[in-house]
Symmetry: D2
Subunit: 337 residues, 4 copies
Amino acid sequence: MVLKIGVIGVGMIGQDHIRRCIEVLNGCEIVAASDINLEHVKAVLKKYKINGKAYTEGLDVISSPDVDAIIVASSGPSHEKYVLAAIEAGKPVFCEKPLAVTAEGCQRIVEAEMKAGKRLVQVGFMRSFDSCYRKLKEMLNTRELGEPLVVKCVHHNSEVGDSYTTDMGITDSMVHEFDIMRWLLDDDYETIQVVSPRITKYAHTGVQDPQLVLLRTKKGILITIDLFVNCQYGYDIRCDVVCEDGIAYMPSPLQVQTRTKGKFGEHVNTDWRERFIVAYDIELQSFIDNAKNNIVMGPSAWDGFIASKTAAAGMKALESGEIVSVNLPQCPSFYKK
Amino acid sequence: MVLKIGVIGVGMIGQDHIRRCIEVLNGCEIVAASDINLEHVKAVLKKYKINGKAYTEGLDVISSPDVDAIIVASSGPSHEKYVLAAIEAGKPVFCEKPLAVTAEGCQRIVEAEMKAGKRLVQVGFMRSFDSCYRKLKEMLNTRELGEPLVVKCVHHNSEVGDSYTTDMGITDSMVHEFDIMRWLLDDDYETIQVVSPRITKYAHTGVQDPQLVLLRTKKGILITIDLFVNCQYGYDIRCDVVCEDGIAYMPSPLQVQTRTKGKFGEHVNTDWRERFIVAYDIELQSFIDNAKNNIVMGPSAWDGFIASKTAAAGMKALESGEIVSVNLPQCPSFYKK
Amino acid sequence: MVLKIGVIGVGMIGQDHIRRCIEVLNGCEIVAASDINLEHVKAVLKKYKINGKAYTEGLDVISSPDVDAIIVASSGPSHEKYVLAAIEAGKPVFCEKPLAVTAEGCQRIVEAEMKAGKRLVQVGFMRSFDSCYRKLKEMLNTRELGEPLVVKCVHHNSEVGDSYTTDMGITDSMVHEFDIMRWLLDDDYETIQVVSPRITKYAHTGVQDPQLVLLRTKKGILITIDLFVNCQYGYDIRCDVVCEDGIAYMPSPLQVQTRTKGKFGEHVNTDWRERFIVAYDIELQSFIDNAKNNIVMGPSAWDGFIASKTAAAGMKALESGEIVSVNLPQCPSFYKK
Amino acid sequence: MVLKIGVIGVGMIGQDHIRRCIEVLNGCEIVAASDINLEHVKAVLKKYKINGKAYTEGLDVISSPDVDAIIVASSGPSHEKYVLAAIEAGKPVFCEKPLAVTAEGCQRIVEAEMKAGKRLVQVGFMRSFDSCYRKLKEMLNTRELGEPLVVKCVHHNSEVGDSYTTDMGITDSMVHEFDIMRWLLDDDYETIQVVSPRITKYAHTGVQDPQLVLLRTKKGILITIDLFVNCQYGYDIRCDVVCEDGIAYMPSPLQVQTRTKGKFGEHVNTDWRERFIVAYDIELQSFIDNAKNNIVMGPSAWDGFIASKTAAAGMKALESGEIVSVNLPQCPSFYKK
Ligand SMILES: [Mg+2]
Ligand SMILES: [Mg+2]
Ligand SMILES: [Mg+2]
Ligand SMILES: [Mg+2]
């Protein structure tokens, strides 16, 4: 059996998912796609030699009887509508982040999915499919090193355009850490604080870069996130976990080390695409494999909701400079893992 | 379309391929299997819930009209017969190493395949499917570091049983390097020398361990292979390539580094299964994906033949202590890449 | 010329300095020593075959006409008295930390030294003599990496006895970072915050371990200190400096890497003695070499005073959980470097 | 007491030793120096503000009653004469390598020194004073890793001038490994083989670069030396010791690691001066400290003799391409350590 997928939104990310389905993944085909610009949808389908239907309205993709499962890759504000419609239609939906642009929107999705009585939504947080994070979690799960006490994250990015704001550091960049730390530690947040260090000369005017976030979990674990989006040297995601009996360091992706031109060393990833390209493949293959068995796993609507709530608390912490309560609701048993 | 596979030999390796096809790989099913012990075949098929035919004769697997492609995982001396029959039947065949137990046997396969007019044989050298070797080759292919001059291989294994002989160091262990170095360097061998260092106390009586082999290629590249099959500390495959403008070091597989119990470090692979498990998966998936398109790629019968010829020269070098000519025949255009 | 040294206090640290002068360093001899227990002084002098004077009163060591320079290694509360007396006598004095037990005591020493019109006091902060810190500072001073923005310190210690309190984390352990960060960054502190993560099961009752301190400097640099005094795995001092154009990582001391028993890695230092033993040697040799030329360099009374002020602010931050002003006075030109 | 040193030869190396004695080391002064060019000696003495005697004849330095100990830094062919004269005068002599330009010359020095009845000669092999080699030897001496079986040396140099010949690879470059391997392993050589890999495009016409040397010791240990004197990337000395229970890797000198400009890595030493500068200091300080106590330690005339004999066998091996016997004489008890 082959999973028939409809794609809503064929901008950069949507097209990338189409390419992935066609060229990299197994067990799926693209049967429909939509975009506000119909000619654009047709051009994309043609480019990948796809004999599928082209729509201007995403809801038509969802209601198309050919379509088994949905990928939502349209603009952020439209996500909620499409995800709710997919739930309504009872079709598995893979939704790029954000799940919704507000915590309230996420909550509406959570409620709709619970009402539907089964998981239908996978949110596009790809890090839990990355082999570096997985290796780290495996090690922690052995409990060889005892309980985690302090986790130090690094999230460095070469440079950002001038549309990037200080807020986006929290809502777009660190939201990945907000999600993956819950996955890694099986824990939730109690408080968040945002610290603003000396600003790099490479930051655009008015942008606070770097930023340091401190999260405290219900178990008392302290998480620091060192975000630096104009770090110049490359894209660099790291995670050190200080435990009672030792420290675990997340590995970096495989690189050939060299000695050349007076240096011993290795390449640092250039950007997030290069760093996580395999994770994106595994993430979507996993969605496909599960959808064929009529199940949905991976990051849930609840995870998207919590990430959104945490980011909202982070925004308050940024504005106030204070330690702010995250106030997360209890996880319903429906979403317990 | 699903590739229907017949498996000849359901010992440890054959069973492992069956497990792989069932649990890990895509696009294939097992439809037949053989073993001298029929009850054993039936038990294996049952274990994996396979509704396939059980034979005592491998040739029946090959001639079965259900079977699209063959995996040969029987004992070494039977490989030649089965591969020749598969060629005769025009069916793609994946043959575990050795392709044949003599260079002459390999040559007969090469000749049969050339006569058949298309590649049908993939030999089970898995290293070219390993991401560490691939990363290294990519780096070398950029020619950023200029031409390779000296390659230093390490092939260390924790320990071997008492059936392991000095000869097997060359014919079973280093044969992997004999193959992969040709792939890495696009080169062939001219001479081989075997050097016998001080013997570890862990070697069984009469076994020379470690051994150092020196290969000289047609381009003059010097390859050293430091083989040590009772190294105690783990399974460790490394490869440093000294080039005109720098050195490239093959990466080791991803490991979580830790600081614990007075040490900073990481796990060394325990054995070849752990080290190359993913490469085995990719190797066979690649065979399957290609066979479905009616082509065969990867290590060829010619590669198996050359590895065998090189090992034979290595045996002469071991016995004589001299630098021995490898005398490789010219590669027919049929096998040129 | 040989520098004639008098040692006040022959407990563990005093004896260690005597051993160092006798067995390791050049250009000095021990001519007098004191301790409340006269028999103990005599025994120590005898043990090292020193033909020197034994006193019960440290002031007698200082006033002895034989003595060119003083080492103060007595109990903390007596330091101020002896350092003031050495200044009064115009003799160079090396004082183990703390310079005085209160910031006010340190200030009295600063004032006395300024009145004396020349530097006479070196405080026993040894880290600036450590080759790892020196290498790091050299690198930063090239400004190849631009301005420092965030500095992440690790100060991990295997275990502490049950007399160790939470306060000592700040006043005894992190005081080393308080000093060395000013040296590394040529900067002073504005605020300090103490964060209390989940407590390790290895902490004695009532002790907060680990602790995380955040310091903000006048230039806006953010310094984090991850202190963990029951980390079990060894003694580990690290420092990552995130700059505008890259990150510098302080090296660890030279260790032989090994592959053995299933691990690739290296020894982590066992304790601070092992980690800093060479720095202690260089620190005191530097004092001796300078004293022979009638000068005093290295960590000054002012540095001791500022470390003490910072620790006092740290104590307030620990108690309140708030971000506390450090309120450092302006450095007098007398102490400018 | 201060050791009064006379320096024979004030070329680059002689001047460097003078600078070292004046600016870096303790317990010595320069009281005389010689050079064929008297004005040059005077200029050098003046440059370092040395009030010493200037001679044109090195023998006058040796016979000067002011002089306690000699440094021989003149041209190679004159070393033997001066060392013999220093022995005759009963004065400790530090002789830069080579001890003499022939094995016979070295032997004459050995005989003279044995006749004198006490060690007077230290040869300028500095590597045993290098902390990286010392750390490695300490580790091996614990026997934690069992007996050494194979040692893999790397001796890479950025580039050489056009006066550098293939022979010099053996007599000037690898002679350092010939000496240090005996020190490291407490062993002597039986055979030597020279292998000539593909030549780098950076080698001057007629020069074989890289070269690989294989030494076999009396205990059967196999030593490989990978010499590459136009490696372009820097100066790089490494040593991996494969033992029965694991591998020890000699550390490289401390470097600050960085992430910058798309690379994670560290500086490789530029040349041998930078790599071994501290070893040169310790080497000569050790000579001085010992000479003040009327003893001589460190690399002996015997060591210089054996290095010379090994290099001579290496030359034969280079010419013949064969495995050549080194034929080392038994070490007299006079030189046993
Ligand atoms: Mg995503
Ligand atoms: Mg295989
Ligand atoms: Mg100290
Ligand atoms: Mg030398």
